[in-house]
């Protein structure tokens, strides 16, 4: 199991972080918050002078992605909270990402400006127009170096396509299209075209009284551009093939684990609702997160998951209280490491859990500044379920349920993780001896 050292905690003084995502190389890390802002961190180049400062992440760009809006027709305020950020693969010097709130997806271009043209003929260097009569000779403007400036510009705005709240966006492996999913529908977009989208999934019943489930997450397959999955509030996952039909209401595969009747309770439906679904990097597996467990599925086996990991089963007897304080509705995300051998997900009390699929070992770690100094090794934590509490253990009743880790990300190739704890971002790296 890996030992992790705490890097300098990047503390955002602003709002609660609502999404975290590495780009495809891991050089950039984007976070979105409830205030509609996006903050991008960039990894430092490794320097020989300071080998122990192995590529720390520093703020690269900050911009306001979404603003609060008001839907006058329905008298509804549209939150500016960023629900998801997804990077596009890099094709030139600029970086592109998609960010979405409840209703609108935006494509942002983040580019550097390190040089500026100087020596214009018709205007001064500070921009003032020169009197043409004063011009006696012509010169060719040249690019001179300047202080690095990173600017973010909105290149596309994809709006007015969702009646319900957008919960997911996913870029297709063809790098031309992407999909956006709300509670009842999934739309397919071309990245270049903003005034049209195709509806590929629609589970809205003719009579809303018959509504029994909603879409909770959706993702494209990492290499098959025709395949995607979407999860539902009933704990099922549907895999769809866009080659089969224009409207993918009929699934190609249906993944569901039969319910254990002995675990039945008032809240069975809530805790079986899937909050996140992620394909493995290989594309062979997918992982789903519901309230108490993480499950790994083999795409070739629909009847039951391959592996089930208990995240915090000690909460099963506390579901009623968690229902009262709304914690039972928390949507935890889950992530794969680069080699698909370890999976990670968050919990309460700023705990997050890692499960090694090969050794079947798991560890609970805590993201908090009190408990870990920079460059210290994270100590594994343990929750005491009952009986005698040992010295370092924490009892279930002393867990802080206001401190929850819903969003996290794992570097695509290295053992670097980013963990969002409310309004703080923690970045942990593998310890190098």
């Amino acid at each position: 199991m890996h030992l992790f050292e705490g890097d300098q905690g990047e503390c955002l003084k602003a709002d609660i972080i609502s999404t975290v995502e590495f780009n495809h190389t891991g050089e950039l890390l984007a976070t979105g918050d409830k205030g509609g802002r996006v903050v991008i961190f960039q990894r430092e180049q490794e320097s020989k002078n300071q080998p122990h400062r192995r590529g720390e992440y520093n703020v690269y760009s900050t911009f306001q992605s979404h603003e609060p809006e008001f839907d006058y027709l329905k008298s509804l305020e549209i939150e500016e909270k960023i629900n998801k950020i997804r990077w596009l693969p890099q094709q030139n010097a600029a970086y592109f990402l998609l960010s979405t709130n409840d209703k609108t997806v935006k494509l942002w271009k983040v580019s550097e400006r390190g040089r500026r043209p100087e020596g214009y003929n018709l205007k001064d260097d500070d921009g003032r127009i020169r009197d043409p009569s004063t011009i006696t000779m012509l010169r060719v403007p040249v690019l001179q170096p300047m202080d690095l400036m990173v600017e973010a510009t909105p290149r596309r705005v994809f709006s007015n396509a969702h009646t319900y709240h957008i919960n997911s966006i996913s870029v297709n492996s063809d790098y031309e299209t992407y999909m956006s999913a709300d509670d009842l529908r999934i739309n397919l977009w071309n990245l270049e075209i903003t005034n049209r989208s195709f509806n590929i999934v629609d589970i809205k019943p003719a009579n809303m009284e018959e509504l029994t489930e909603v879409i909770t997450a959706a993702e494209f397959h990492p290499n098959q551009c025709n395949t995607f999955v979407y999860s539902s509030s009933k704990g099922t996952i549907r895999l769809c093939d866009m080659r089969a039909a224009a409207l993918c209401d009929k699934h190609s595969k249906f993944f569901e684990e039969p319910e254990d009747p002995s675990n039945r309770s008032f809240f069975s439906e809530i805790i079986s609702s899937i909050s996140d679904v992620k394909f493995s990097h290989s594309g062979r597996y997918m992982m789903t997160r519901d309230y108490l467990t993480v499950k790994v599925w083999d795409l070739n086996m629909e009847s039951r998951p391959l592996e089930t990991y208990q995240v915090h089963d000690y909460l099963r007897s506390k579901l009623c209280s968690l229902y009262e304080n709304d914690c039972i509705f928390d949507k935890f995300e889950c992530v794969w490491n680069g080699s698909d051998s370890v999976i990670m997900t968050g919990s309460y009390n700023n705990f997050f859990r890692m499960f090694d699929r090969n050794t079947k070992r798991d560890v609970t770690l805590e993201a908090s500044r009190e408990n870990s100094k920079p460059r210290a090794i994270l100590k594994p934590r343990k929750v005491c379920v009952g009986g005698k509490r040992r010295k370092d253990e924490i009892s279930v009743d002393s867990l802080d349920f206001s401190k929850k880790i819903l969003h996290s990300a794992w570097h695509p190739t290295e053992n670097i993780i980013a963990v969002a704890a409310t309004n703080n971002l923690y970045i942990f790296q593998d310890k190098v001896n």
């Binding site: 009842l184 809303m208 279930v396």
Partner: protein, 287 residues
Amino acid sequence: MLNAMECAVDAQSLISISLRKIHNSRTQRGGIKLHKNLLVSYVLRNARQLYMSEKYAEIYRMQQYEEVMTVCNEIQELNPLEEEVMEPASPCPSATQAVAAAEATVEELAKDPSVGTFYRSCCCAAASTNEPEEDLEEYPLNSCDFSPPACTRTTVLDLDTHVVTTVENGCLHQDCCPCQSAGSLAPAPPRKRKPDFGYDAPELPDFAPCKRARFEDFSAAVASSTVTAATESPEPSNISNLISIFGSGFTGLVSRQADTEQSLNGQFCSKQALASLGAWTRAIVAF
């Protein structure tokens, strides 16, 4: 943090907590969250099923007690020296008397807060015990409190055989019900009781938009304990708004359950009750 919380595991508290969540979601920033409200409605349904199964069990016990009392009274009646005691279930030949008896029942049972709510809007049919083969007189149980613009079904209760059946009469208004000719039903005026979980009652009328929230025919299987006879799947009747549900305590959540037999065993959730879920979803959407 969990210690300090009082956890209300009983069905009634869960129902009130859930309704409060639905109410609060209307004023939440960002609009109503469909997913969360759907999940809350599942909890509501589960709690309601348990609540109903407990109520049925209780009513069944009460009915059995009444039957015993009736038999005792009949024995007493044979003795002319004994004072005649009018019991709610004693035979009444005329419809009006039946209604009076029914209302007496309602009044009496209303005193018992745990049971009375069930009878609030039901009218009891009294069949003559002297002629057990006589066809039961049917009186419609209607959601009269809520002035439904259309009712396509009425549910009738035979107190004698405890059979609940649904009659499709296709009438558009309760006044048009042919059954009504059997006697004036004197529907109870819409009573908005102060809900027992702390809502501001004056605020609630804002709830009543033009869109109606549709719920189960709550008055249906109210008094029936032998719900095996009630095999129809629940049909939504038209109830104007969520306030009425609040106001009527939990009668609004009553519905015929074909699977109550299972519920009585403590398994309080079945797949067929999904149809009933729709009513709550519509309530959510109606917001």
